[in-house]
């Protein structure tokens, strides 16, 4: 048993019906917010995201949310200073993103409502640097001929 998560814990689920409107019972509210953000994206608004780390969720809530969204067609692994996973859920345009550091600890977790996750898009500087790199590689090959 090397990690805290390996210690078995018993979770008593609070009575959500009795505490509607208080912190902790928010799975339905999150789903409603995602639906509203999808509407706005379809109408031409900017992509948005819901931060999963700042929501005071019980472990049970998280599972409920994952179950409600389902799994989709796309799964992306990003290797940049630790492994990140970006998965499209069963709802098109709803991406479950988890960024991890070099030790595998989750540093950011959010649901992105976007056509394509923004972190994948390459910026113009990078395109130019890529082109320069290729040209200098071609130059080096030619001069060695």
């Amino acid at each position: 048993m090397s990690r805290l998560g390996d210690i078995p814990i018993r979770i008593e689920r609070p009575d959500f019906a009795a505490m509607a409107g208080t912190i902790g019972g928010g799975v339905t509210a999150i789903l409603a917010e995602i639906a509203a953000l999808l509407d706005r994206l379809a109408a031409g608004d900017e992509p948005q995201a819901i931060d999963l780390k700042s929501l005071p969720m019980n472990p049970g809530d998280r599972e409920q949310l994952i179950e409600a969204l389902g799994s989709g067609e796309v799964a992306i692994t990003l290797y940049a200073d630790g492994e990140s996973t970006i998965r499209e859920t069963g709802v098109h345009g709803v991406w479950w993103t988890e960024h991890r550091d070099g030790d595998g600890e989750v540093t950011a977790a959010f649901i992105e409502i976007a056509r394509v996750p923004g972190i994948l898009i390459v910026d113009s500087d990078e395109l130019q640097r890529g082109a320069e790199r290729l040209r200098s590689a071609i130059g080096a090959t030619r001069s060695s001929e």
Partner: protein, 373 residues
């Protein structure tokens, strides 16, 4: 500080070190989440920071245990730990720097001259003022002297930890060294308090990042703490809150309630009156925080927390506060929580706690009488 470091942008430095734009966006996204900004704001922050220049930082350590610096440098994975040192230029820190003696002091002088009016001073530890300040000296000079001189050319001062923010442990009764917080000694510079014993490392780096990104002092609460990190109480964001709301409390550390993860209010939890980000940011890279590990919050980020009575007495027993009472803000907060969640439950808990206090007082009086006899 080498001149190139002052001129180059953070982006240029990251490129030189092979840290990709996406890796930096990931870091900024994590930081944005800590600052309660929308996660996608991390992208804009990353672009802004890449274009900014690294500010010079002078880190002064006074009456402290080095826990705050340990918190900052040891709790992240190495890659994240390094990231903040890519964003700032740490030009003087007598605990971390390889140089010692005159060379170390020369580094501070040089950083001050080269960046006068622009550098950030980070202070860790309270400042002893009794007996001419002799209880904390370096290079033959008192902490008061070093702080006053270094503060003169600073753009702002960031107090890291409860000691520099509010006096902390050295300030606790009877305060033999005449320890003072920085804000008692420096009146003409913006001061940002990042309290906690120690502060959460991400809160320290987040505060520094926010200053570098915007070039401005963030919104502060009445104790000069950044509202983004200290805007909510632990209780506001505690995952055990549903149990508080339902009146389910652990009564001892090993009873059924404790095993079920019920609220720790009756075991002395100071969460309702403590402003900090532990419940959301957590500790050790997001692993856990004291309440999640089954221990009540001690209230370590609040002024005078060492002198506020037992860590294990419920807030409703009224022992929290120097005068033995809740501050009006504390009382309002508790009252607010009760109003929002069912006064009957909270009132029941309070009555129970009051009853316990009576028992305790009776015990004490009996013990005293026995002593006198």
């Amino acid at each position: 500080m080498p001149e190139y470091q002052a001129r180059q942008t953070i982006g240029e430095l990251l490129d030189r070190q092979g840290i990709s734009r996406r890796a930096f966006i990931k870091y900024c996204t994590a930081m944005a989440s800590l600052m309660a900004l929308p996660p996608l704001a991390g992208r804009a922050m990353a672009e802004q920071l890449r274009a900014a220049r690294r500010p010079s930082v002078i880190y002064l350590s006074f009456q402290e245990c080095t826990g705050c610096l340990e918190s900052l440098t040891r709790s992240f994975s190495p890659s994240i730990e390094n990231m903040i040192f890519n964003v700032i230029s740490l030009d003087y820190d007598d605990t971390l720097m390889a140089a010692a003696g005159h060379r170390a002091e020369a580094a501070r002088d040089q950083a001050m001259k080269a960046n006068y009016g622009k550098y950030l001073v980070v202070v860790d530890g309270s400042v002893p003022t009794a007996d001419g300040g002799i209880y904390n000296c370096a290079a033959g000079r008192t902490a008061v002297d070093i702080l006053t001189e270094t503060a003169k050319g600073a753009a702002a001062i960031v107090c890291v930890g409860t000691c520099s923010s509010f006096g902390g442990i050295p300030f606790a009764d009877p305060n033999p060294t005449g320890a003072r917080p920085v804000s008692d000694l420096i009146g003409d510079k913006p001061i940002i308090n990042v309290s906690g014993c120690p502060p959460i490392p991400e809160v320290i780096t987040g505060t520094l990042l926010q200053f570098v990104t915007t070039g401005q002092v963030p919104d502060l609460d009445e104790h000069r703490r950044p509202k983004v990190f200290f805007g909510n109480t632990i209780h506001d964001r505690c995952y055990r809150r549903p149990f508080f709301d339902q009146g389910k409390f652990a009564k001892t550390f090993d009873d059924e309630g404790a095993r079920n993860g019920w609220c720790l209010f009756e075991l002395g939890c100071k969460g309702p009156t403590t402003y900090n980000a532990c419940a959301t940011t957590k500790w050790n890279g997001g692993t856990s925080f004291p309440i999640e590990s089954g221990h009540p919050c001690l209230g370590c980020s609040e002024p005078g927390f060492w002198d506020k009575g037992s860590f294990y007495a419920a807030l409703s027993t009224g022992t929290f506060g120097r005068a033995g009472n809740l501050t009006p803000r504390d009382a309002a907060k508790l009252g607010g929580a009760a109003a929002a969640t069912g006064i009957a439950v909270a009132a029941g808990a309070t009555a129970l706690a009051r009853h316990r206090r009576k028992v305790r007082m009776t015990d004490i009086q009996t013990a005293d009488t026995q002593k006198e006899e």
